[in-house]
Symmetry: C2
Subunit: 161 residues, 2 copies
Amino acid sequence: MTDQSPPKPQPDQPRLGEIGLTNYAPYLMNRIMGRYNASLRDEMAGLGLTTPKMRALAVLSVIDGPLIRELSVYSVVEQSTLSRALDQLAGDGLIRREADAVDSRATRVFITEAGRAHFETLWPRMAEAHERMFRGIPPEERRAFVGTLQKMLANIRKHEI
Amino acid sequence: MTDQSPPKPQPDQPRLGEIGLTNYAPYLMNRIMGRYNASLRDEMAGLGLTTPKMRALAVLSVIDGPLIRELSVYSVVEQSTLSRALDQLAGDGLIRREADAVDSRATRVFITEAGRAHFETLWPRMAEAHERMFRGIPPEERRAFVGTLQKMLANIRKHEI
DNA sequence: CGGGGATATTTGCAAACGCATTTAAATCTG
DNA sequence: CAGATTTAAATGCGTTTGCAAATATCCCCG
């Protein structure tokens, strides 16, 4: 027998029962990244970029020539999805696939000049979303936060990249 | 003219170029939540639960009788996706939809006893994934981290729920 | 050094997703 | 208070996704 009392619309204060959720890190992180990613996705949509394409481009602007499998991990995009995103990026001349020198099963991915230029035009939007997220949070607190994230990343990657 | 030097397989140390990424909070958060959600999704798959269904159930275990629109925000699931997830959960008798008393456009969602019981069996898995994520991070640091997340959540929700 | 298993990537296909639209009801406005 | 606008939820439909299988290559071991 659960509490079946009639639903009462409540003030837009945080609800009592939500207090649990808003102290739960995974919940907060999903909420935050959900909105961050959605807002970025909306901005990129007009530029013909999907989230997987944008992420691949972002990672490639920093890491030169990863294997597709590695890029999949770094960009947090499933391999088959990434494979198709790369098809499109290559079609647009933003990246280039190149057979690995020593393992001919493997493919390395490189960003082209056009791809890098394209990403430069995207970057300000991403930086803006980032800054919005951290507004009012002092540098010292930001550093500590990133430090904790790094520990968490180390925890979750079992013995992978 | 970018550096087109031949690709060299590198040791599985963090790559030089990655240092930028691993100091960038949104990147780290996407990496961490990507794996957290994937591992949870894999565990739930065997139990007939998708991510939207699991999230809805989790939120409903804490918040009683939200509007579907509110549940959509809390559970970070797109409204149309949530609508269909609720169809399934209702079909399985885990939740119940009920017309709002004062606004007959709106629907409130309640978890059933069966739904609550089902969620109780799920919860240990979620807690385990959570604990794995925070392994080795002391309580004080965890608290500070959650505090920062709460500020971030306040930043990104414009003037919504 | 040949065969069995592992690994890298792509592709087929069914399911899931999300945008846009629809339906229904509430609210605002003159 | 009628008509126009906004809001809540469901649904139609084309696109995207991701699992699993296919393909190709590598590596290990007897």
